[in-house]
């Protein structure tokens, strides 16, 4: 038997009896960041491939929501900060060792890009849109001239943003559940998948929905592969990571993870998408909403469970 108690009555709120420094804000922010990355990735990709007219939702319409998504995400991040008046200190240094730092800088780059991309396509929704000021018109002309370059930059930053949402967690060796390099790719793929789901949700063209249902199906397959791989890695690792895996394999997060994330968020939408591709009548809204729901649940469950996993000494 080994019993360990803190006899001095240590009660640091948010740390004891269990670390809970990050609440709903961080997982919400990571979900929205991943979603924005997914939408921008496909917008840039299909623009570069010159398929703007075949897949208009992906290139033109879905990205119009990205600035809103990013702003809500950044707002959540801001609410999370305990020392709010000093938030600008984030932008006084670049610290490559700190994922939080290069993530903040990535957002600093991709948020204006998303605004520009949305502005370039606003005329497709409001044909009578007028920029009023000549300098705005000049800026629009400049951006249109360099649209291909913007798309390439956006493509790269979207991938960095998607990976960063996972690396933010995986850089913490103190939290064994988070401390796996699989989280980067897993959150990237999940972000792309939620992006594809949003495009499916908004698209009115059957061709476009079919393409993104196919893409989503592949992404869900990769996600399932990564999740299985993550648990294989944990179970083959040392005791603290075995304990971390047990949070999901019989522990308190077993039911929410396997029901909400894996079954409802991945397997059911995959089956529905297969049925749809086989020409069964499936309302497109169901798989798309389930994928988005699974994406948000995954962030929440991993954020909360990670804070319950720790080294024992």
């Amino acid at each position: 038997m080994k019993e360990e108690i803190i006899v001095s009555g240590r009660m640091n709120p948010l740390i004891d009896p269990q670390l809970h420094i990050w609440h709903w804000q961080i997982p919400l922010y990571l979900f929205l960041g991943g979603l924005a990355a997914g939408i921008l990735f496909f917008a840039a990709l299909y623009y570069i491939l010159n398929k703007e007219d075949i897949y208009p939702t992906a290139v033109r319409f879905a990205p119009i929501f990205v600035p809103v998504i990013l702003v809500i995400g950044l707002l959540a991040l801001f609410i999370d900060l305990n020392h709010k008046p000093y938030f600008w200190q984030l932008y006084t240094t670049i610290r490559l060792e700190s994922p939080m730092s290069w993530g903040a800088w990535t957002l600093m780059a991709i948020t204006p890009l998303s605004f520009i991309w949305a502005a370039l396509h606003i005329k497709h929704i409001f044909p009578t849109w007028d920029w009023k000021f000549s300098w705005l018109k000049n800026f629009e002309a400049f951006c249109l001239k360099h649209k291909l370059n913007i798309a390439w930059i956006m493509l790269v930053f979207a991938v960095i943003l998607g990976i960063y949402t996972g690396v933010l967690f995986s850089a913490f060796n103190a939290r064994p559940l988070w401390n796996t390099s699989i989280l980067g790719p897993l959150f990237l793929v999940s972000g792309l998948s939620t992006g594809a789901a949003t495009i499916i949700l908004m698209s009115r063209s059957y061709e476009e929905r079919k393409l993104f249902a196919r893409i989503d199906l592949i992404l869900i397959g990769i996600e399932l592969f990564l999740i299985v791989h993550m648990f294989m890695g944990f179970l083959a690792s040392h005791q603290v990571q075995i304990d971390a895996a047990k949070l999901f394999l019989g522990g308190p997060y077993t039911a929410p993870f396997w029901i909400f994330v894996v079954t409802l968020g991945l397997i059911v939408p995959a089956i529905l998408e297969i049925l749809e591709l086989r020409k069964y009548k499936v309302p497109v809204i169901f798989p798309a909403i389930l994928v988005l729901f699974g994406g948000i649940m995954m962030r929440f469950i991993i954020a909360y469970a990670g804070q319950a996993s720790r080294w024992l000494y």
């Binding site: 080994k2 240590r10 009660m11 004891d16 000093y86 240094t93 060796n173 103190a174 040392h238």
Partner: protein, 177 residues
């Protein structure tokens, strides 16, 4: 210069004077603490072993909190003491999540707070408040680069351990066993 602390688990009686001394010296807000005492009971009755440990920030030489801080608020000060610059800290909580010892906490004023090895006392040639207050004199503080310091001498003559060295943080808090 490399500051370190050694705590004699055989002499510590777990009175928590170090905790109160720290709270008084550093004006730690009520309900929070920068150091704490852990009592470990190991074995099966009647073969029980008891270990008392006064714990605090380990002032790691490969500190994950310094690495993950996005603004450089968490930094290494003189002699490897890990400190937080209040006016650079945005209170994001990354350092709190990164600490395997859970040694940091959010101060009610927003920034992150932790043990400073009482750097304001150490700079004036004094010992940290916890070391000074210990009634059993079970704590040793000093410079590991100075072979004549209290902590260097006691670490040469006694058996010791650090907490979870396998986490790779290079802790500078030694427990005499």
């Amino acid at each position: 210069m490399r500051y370190a602390m050694a705590i004699d688990t055989k002499k510590c009686v777990g009175c928590s004077d170090c905790v109160v001394a720290c709270q008084t010296e550093n004006n730690v807000p009520i309900g929070y603490c920068r150091d704490w005492v852990v009592e470990v009971t190991d074995g099966t009755y009647p073969q029980l072993e008891l270990e008392n440990r006064s714990e605090r920030c380990n002032h790691c030489n490969n500190a994950p909190c310094v690495r993950c801080c996005p603004t450089g608020a968490s930094h290494f000060s003189d002699g490897g003491i890990v400190l937080v610059k209040e006016k650079r800290c945005i209170g994001c909580g990354a350092c709190i999540a990164s600490c395997p010892y859970d040694a940091r906490f959010p101060h009610p004023n927003g920034y992150v707070d932790k043990c400073t090895f009482c750097i304001h006392r150490v700079k004036n040639g004094l010992n940290p408040a916890c070391v000074e207050a210990c009634p059993t004199k079970c704590m040793y503080f000093g410079d590991l680069d100075d072979p004549k310091s209290d902590v260097s001498i006691v670490l040469k003559t006694r058996k010791w351990k650090t907490l979870i060295p396998e986490a790779g943080t290079g802790p500078e808090l030694y427990f005499l066993i």
